[in-house]
């Protein structure tokens, strides 16, 4: 007779009855707790203003905002405004990221040009980008372009800085390894330096995806008659607090979708990294 196995395979492992989310795991309990917070928040929003006698034009209850959301779809062209803002965010984000990646790589492989340009880049980085919005509106009029331009400007820096520092911090032994194989400068960039930027690039892109929404909204607030930023100021002018809130919620949703899309692409591109390094939180 064979001896019994030391660990009975049928016995559940200790790890399976750990307390809820001991190490950041998403369990059923966490989902329920998280959903309860949302329900409590919505309930408080719905009934607290009435109980505290806060007038509707200051803080409309949740149901009132929902009605305004349904009304705005027909009467205010909510989806058109949302669509225009989304397109501005996407175009600004993509162009700003590409520019950041390109300039980051160019400065990364050429330390001289970085030395020459760094004081100006630093100055531009310190300058509050949204303050350029009125200037761009003056230059380009009440079109989508000034909004896109603000988004490009605001997206550019986190992406460029991350790409640049990634190239700067590539292990010199990796470069030497490629050199012993007689790699050309271009091969070193293509096979070693550029792929090294991918992980920091995506950290930059995540930040940039939320910044792009800010840039576009500020542009729309300053001038124009389209987009959620415009709808926001329009609602303000009408004293329609619910419409302002609907606009804010739609903007938040655009930000969430943009961030989620970046996180999804990141998981695809950085598939070679251990899962733990890809935590979104």
């Amino acid at each position: 007779m064979s001896p019994p196995p030391l660990i009975d395979p049928a016995t559940p492992k200790r790890t399976e009855n750990r307390p809820i989310a001991a190490d950041g795991q998403i369990t059923q309990g966490v989902v329920i707790a998280s959903a309860s917070v949302l329900i409590a928040f919505l309930a408080a929003w719905e009934w607290l203003p009435g109980l505290l006698h806060i007038p509707e034009f200051i803080l409309p209850p949740a149901s009132r905002v929902w009605q305004e959301f349904l009304r705005a779809q027909h009467d205010e062209g909510l989806w058109l405004h949302t669509g225009i803002t989304s397109i501005e965010v996407i175009v600004g984000f993509v162009l700003g990221s590409l520019l950041g990646l390109a300039i980051g790589c160019a400065l990364g492989v050429s330390p001289k040009s970085e030395l020459v340009l760094s004081p100006y880049l630093l100055a531009l980085q310190i300058a509050p980008k949204v303050a350029f919005a009125p200037l761009f509106v003056m230059w380009l009029g009440f079109t989508v372009y000034p909004k896109i331009l603000v988004a490009i400007l605001i997206v550019f820096f986190p992406v460029m800085v991350n790409v640049l520092s990634a190239i700067r911090t590539v292990d010199p032994d990796l470069i030497n390894l490629a050199r012993t194989f007689s790699a050309s400068r271009w091969q070193i960039f293509r096979m070693i330096e550029y792929p090294s930027t991918m992980s920091p690039l995506f950290s930059g892109l995540r930040i940039a995806s939320t910044l792009a929404v800010i840039g576009v909204v500020v542009g729309e607030l300053v001038g124009g008659n389209k987009g959620l930023g415009y709808l926001l100021t329009y609602g303000e002018g009408q004293g329609n607090t619910a419409l302002v809130m609907v606009s804010i919620i739609m903007l938040t949703l655009i930000g969430i979708v943009a961030y989620g899309a970046v996180a999804m692409i990141e998981r695809k591109v950085l598939h070679y990294l251990p899962r733990a390094q890809l935590k979104t939180s």
């Binding site: 292990d171 032994d173 030497n176 050199r179 194989f181 096979m191 990294l273 251990p274």
Partner: protein, 266 residues
């Protein structure tokens, strides 16, 4: 200076000085007047105290930088830049995390422009020989330290260099993995009749793997002793470790390293 005609890699009176870190300071002399010659198929170990310029010697052999004085020759040509006859391997595996194991092994071949089917076939063969058969499509983070270093060895052998320069390739591994990898390396070097210069801090390793051991002094490093290891089984370090004279060589080297130490303190 009159080295054998069949020398595969040769250092002729090589001195290397590095520019000072601060302005006005003296340049640092890493190694001074090193002359050595390694014959075709010979494996030579280099031991010496930390910071004695062993790695500098290797980097010059690989053509990563030029000597301040003297010359390095590989296969009858003066080394002036990195060249495909020489490959090097470090303590770090330097595997690229975004490439699968097989793609990492192909790195050198890809850089040197060999065609895709040819390099895939060659890397497959090396993968099998380095006992990594099932791991072609794994990524480096999925492998243990020993397996990663095996992949690094396969990448080094893939470009079919005449000379292998190795800088403490096994020093980050645990004792058992290290012995297995030493045996693999010794067999590969013997089978392919490769020439190798092998830096190590491990005196037993140096005796177990090589035909000759060179002992360097403290900085500025120079070669203070050459010991021929006239033991059998160079392709089988396990066998060599059993040899009765093994301990005698290790004892001799231990004593020699102390001599190097005293010379510096005079």
């Amino acid at each position: 200076m009159n080295s054998p005609a069949h020398a595969q890699i040769e250092y002729r009176a090589v001195t290397k000085r590095f520019a000072p870190q601060r302005k006005g300071a003296e340049p640092v002399t890493a190694i001074t007047d090193v002359t050595l010659s390694i014959a075709n198929g010979e494996v030579v170990s280099l031991i010496g105290p930390s910071g004695c310029g062993k790695s500098t010697l290797l980097n010059m052999g690989a053509g990563l930088y030029a000597p301040s004085e003297g010359e390095v020759w590989v296969d009858g040509h003066r080394v002036e830049r990195p060249n495909p006859q020489v490959a090097f391997m470090l303590q770090k595996d330097l595997l690229l995390p975004w490439r699968s194991i097989i793609e990492n092994i192909e790195l050198g071949l890809e850089i040197q422009g060999s065609d895709a089917t040819g390099r895939r076939a060659r890397s497959r063969a090396l993968l099998d020989r380095c006992h990594l058969s099932g791991f072609a499509d794994h990524y480096p983070h999925q492998l243990s330290g020993g397996m990663r270093q095996r992949a690094a060895l396969a990448r080094t052998l893939a470009v079919d260099p005449l000379v292998l320069l190795m800088d403490e390739p096994f020093s980050a591994l645990d004792a058992q993995t290290k012995m297995v990898l030493q045996a693999d390396l010794a067999k590969s070097l013997a089978d392919e009749k490769k020439t190798a210069l092998f830096i190590t801090h491990d005196l037993v390793e140096s005796v177990a793997l090589s035909d000759r051991v060179l002992v360097m002094s403290r900085r500025p490093g120079r070669i203070i002793q050459e010991i021929t290891i006239d033991l059998p089984d160079r392709d089988n370090p396990f066998g060599r470790r059993q040899h009765v004279r093994m301990a005698e060589f290790v004892r001799g080297l231990t004593a020699l390293l102390d001599i190097g130490h005293q010379e510096l303190n005079q």
